[in-house]
C-alpha cells in the first residue's frame, strides 16, 4: 500500500499492547514517526521492536494519562523529538470487570480519570499543539461498542466510553475551523489482552461468535486499519464521526 503518513508525526497513548500497539505499528509502517506512549510500569520493547522490523521510526514516551502535567509534558516531548505533531491517537484505557454493586468510588474515579478525563486531556493538549503549529491534523479516539450497550460487569466502563464518543464529536465541532478532524472508533469484541479474561471463557466466546454477523472476534490490526483510515486523507470529510467496528454485534437483535 501507498504510505500515507510520510513526513508526519503521531503519538498513540496506551501503545504497548492491543489496539494501541497495532495502531502504532501501522502508522509507523506507513511512514509516520510515532511516539509510543506507556505508563512508567509498561514495557514498550515489543512495540518498538515490531516498528523497527517494519522499517518504521518510533520512540517511547512515558505518561500516565491520569496526570495532567505528564500529558502536557508528553505532547511537548513528541513535538520536540518528532519536530511537529500531526496525529493524536487517544487510545489508553482500562476495563476492569466488576459488578455494578461492588464498584467503589475509587474504582469509578480510576476508570473515569483514565478513560474519560484522560481522553479529554490528551486530545485537548494535542489539539493545542497542532493549532500552535498551524497546519491542521487529525485525532482519533478509541471508544467502544460499550458506548451503546450495557454489560453487568462493565457499567462504569460503558459510561466512560459513551463519554469518549461524545467528546470526539464535541471536540470535532470546535476544531474544524483549525483544520483538525476528530473521530472515534468503537471496537466490538477484539482479541486483545484487555478482552482476554472475557474471551478465554468458551461460553462467552461462543456467545460473541454467534451474535457477531461475521461470526468471529476481531484482530487488533483490524482496528488499526480503521484508525489509520480516519487519520488519513481518505477521510478528508469525516469529522465528529464515530465508526462502530463491531462486525454486526449490536445490530443482531433477533425479532
Amino acid at each position: 500500500m501507498e504510505k500515507r503518513f510520510v513526513g508526519k508525526v503521531a503519538f498513540v497513548t496506551g501503545a504497548t499492547t492491543g489496539i494501541g500497539q497495532a495502531t502504532a505499528i501501522r502508522l509507523a509502517s506507513e511512514g509516520a514517526v510515532v511516539g509510543v506512549n506507556q505508563r512508567q510500569s509498561d514495557d514498550p520493547t515489543e512495540t518498538l521492536r515490531r516498528i523497527k522490523d517494519a522499517g518504521g521510526e518510533a520512540f517511547p514516551v512515558v505518561a500516565d494519562v491520569r496526570d495532567p502535567a505528564q500529558v502536557v509534558a508528553m505532547v511537548r516531548e513528541v513535538a520536540r523529538r518528532g519536530g511537529r505533531l500531526d496525529y493524536v491517537v487517544s487510545n489508553a484505557g482500562i476495563n476492569p470487570f466488576m459488578k455494578w454493586d461492588e464498584t467503589s468510588v475509587e474504582d469509578f474515579d480510576t476508570l473515569s480519570e483514565t478513560n474519560f478525563r484522560g481522553t479529554w486531556l490528551v486530545c485537548t493538549e494535542g489539539a493545542k499543539q497542532m493549532i500552535k503549529e498551524g497546519h491542521g491534523g487529525a485525532i482519533c479516539c478509541t471508544s467502544s461498542l460499550s458506548a451503546h450497550v450495557g454489560s453487568p460487569s462493565q457499567v462504569a466502563y460503558c459510561g466512560t466510553k459513551a463519554g469518549v464518543s461524545m467528546l470526539a464529536k464535541a471536540l470535532g465541532a470546535v476544531l474544524g475551523e483549525h483544520g483538525i478532524r476528530v473521530n472515534a472508533v468503537e471496537p466490538g469484541a477484539i482479541d486483545t489482552p484487555m478482552a482476554a479474561s472475557l474471551l478465554q471463557d468458551p461460553e462467552a466466546l461462543k456467545y460473541y461468535e454467534d451474535r457477531i454477523a461475521l461470526h468471529r472476534v476481531g484482530k487488533p490490526e483490524e482496528m488499526a486499519s480503521v484508525i489509520a483510515f480516519l487519520l488519513s486523507d481518505d477521510a478528508s470529510y469525516l469529522t465528529c464521526t464515530t465508526v462502530l467496528a463491531d462486525a454486526g454485534f449490536i445490530v443482531n437483535a433477533e425479532l
Binding site: 478528508s236 469529522t239 445490530v251
Partner: protein
C-alpha cells in the same frame, strides 16, 4: 503487497455516469478494480467515465439499467459476470431526489424516489448476493444520506429522506442476513457539491456551511475516499455500520 487497495477486484457502481458515483468508479479503477459503470439517462457521460478509466490503464464496462426494474438489474449483473467473471463490490449509489414540499409532491414522485433509491438497492443487493456467497467474499456499500439520520434540511425532501432511512435499515438487515462472508455498510454523506443539489437557495447554503465543522462543502472525492476504505480489506471487521461523511455537520 500491491500498492493498489482493490487490485483484481470487480465492482458495480450504480448511477456512476456523474456525481458521487463517477468519483467512486474512477477511484475504484485507480485502486486497481475493474468497474461496471451503470447509467440510465446519460450515455455520453457514462462513456466518458469508461474512457477516462481506460486511459488510466484500467478496465471498465458501461451498462444501461434502471435499478428499479428487476429485469434491468439481472442484465446489469449478468453483463458484469460475462465480462469480468466475478463481482466483489457493489455500490448502490443510483438515486433521485425531488426537491418539493410534501404538499406539492405527487404519488409518482413518491413511487419513483422509493423505487430507485430503496427498491433499487434491494434488487441489486439481492441479485449480487448469491454470487458473492459462492465466492465467500463480497462488499456491499449503500449510498445513503445523513438526511436519513437526523437532518433539518430534510424538510423539502420527504420521499428522499424516507428512502434513505429505509436504506439504513436495509443495510443493517442485510449485514446480518449475508454475514459472515459479505459485509454491508452505508455511507451517509452530508452536503456534497453535485448536480443533485445544484439549484439550492444561496441562503440555505450559507446556513449549512455555518453548521459544518470543517467550514466547506464536501467533494465527490471525499465520498470516494470513504467508499474505497469500506470496499477494501481495511474495513473487514465493519458491517452493518452507517458511516457519516458530513464534515461535522450538525454537531454544533
Amino acid at each position: 503487497m500491491s500498492d493498489k487497495r482493490l487490485d483484481g477486484k470487480v465492482a458495480i457502481v450504480t448511477g456512476s455516469s456523474r456525481g458521487i458515483g463517477k468519483a467512486i468508479a474512477e477511484s475504484f479503477a485507480a485502486e486497481g478494480a475493474k468497474v461496471t459503470v451503470n447509467w440510465v439517462g446519460s450515455e455520453r457521460e457514462a462513456q466518458g467515465v469508461v474512457d477516462s478509466i481506460k486511459r488510466g490503464g484500467g478496465d471498465a464496462l458501461s451498462v444501461r439499467a434502471d435499478v428499479s426494474k428487476s429485469a434491468d438489474v439481472k442484465r446489469l449483473v449478468s453483463a458484469t459476470i460475462d465480462r469480468f467473471g466475478r463481482i466483489d463490490i457493489l455500490v448502490n449509489n443510483a438515486g433521485v431526489m425531488v426537491a418539493k414540499s410534501v404538499l406539492e409532491t405527487t404519488e409518482d414522485d413518491w413511487d419513483r424516489t422509493i423505487d430507485v433509491n430503496l427498491k433499487g438497492a434491494y434488487l441489486c443487493s439481492k441479485e449480487v448476493a448469491p454470487i458473492m456467497l459462492r465466492q465467500e467474499a463480497g462488499k456491499i456499500i449503500m449510498m445513503s444520506s445523513n438526511s436519513g439520520l437526523y437532518h433539518p434540511s430534510a424538510m423539502r425532501f420527504t420521499e428522499y429522506v424516507t428512502s434513505k432511512a429505509g436504506m439504513n435499515g436495509l443495510t443493517k438487515a442485510l449485514a446480518l442476513a449475508l454475514g459472515p462472508h459479505i459485509t454491508v455498510n452505508a455511507i451517509c454523506p452530508g452536503w456534497i457539491k453535485t448536480d443533485m443539489i445544484a439549484d439550492t437557495d444561496p441562503e440555505v447554503e450559507q446556513r449549512i456551511l455555518a453548521e459544518t465543522a470543517l467550514r466547506r462543502w464536501g467533494t465527490t472525492d471525499d465520498i470516494a475516499g470513504a467508499a474505497v476504505f469500506l470496499a477494501s480489506k481495511e474495513a473487514d471487521f465493519i458491517t452493518g455500520e452507517l458511516l457519516i461523511v458530513a464534515g461535522g455537520r450538525g454537531m454544533h
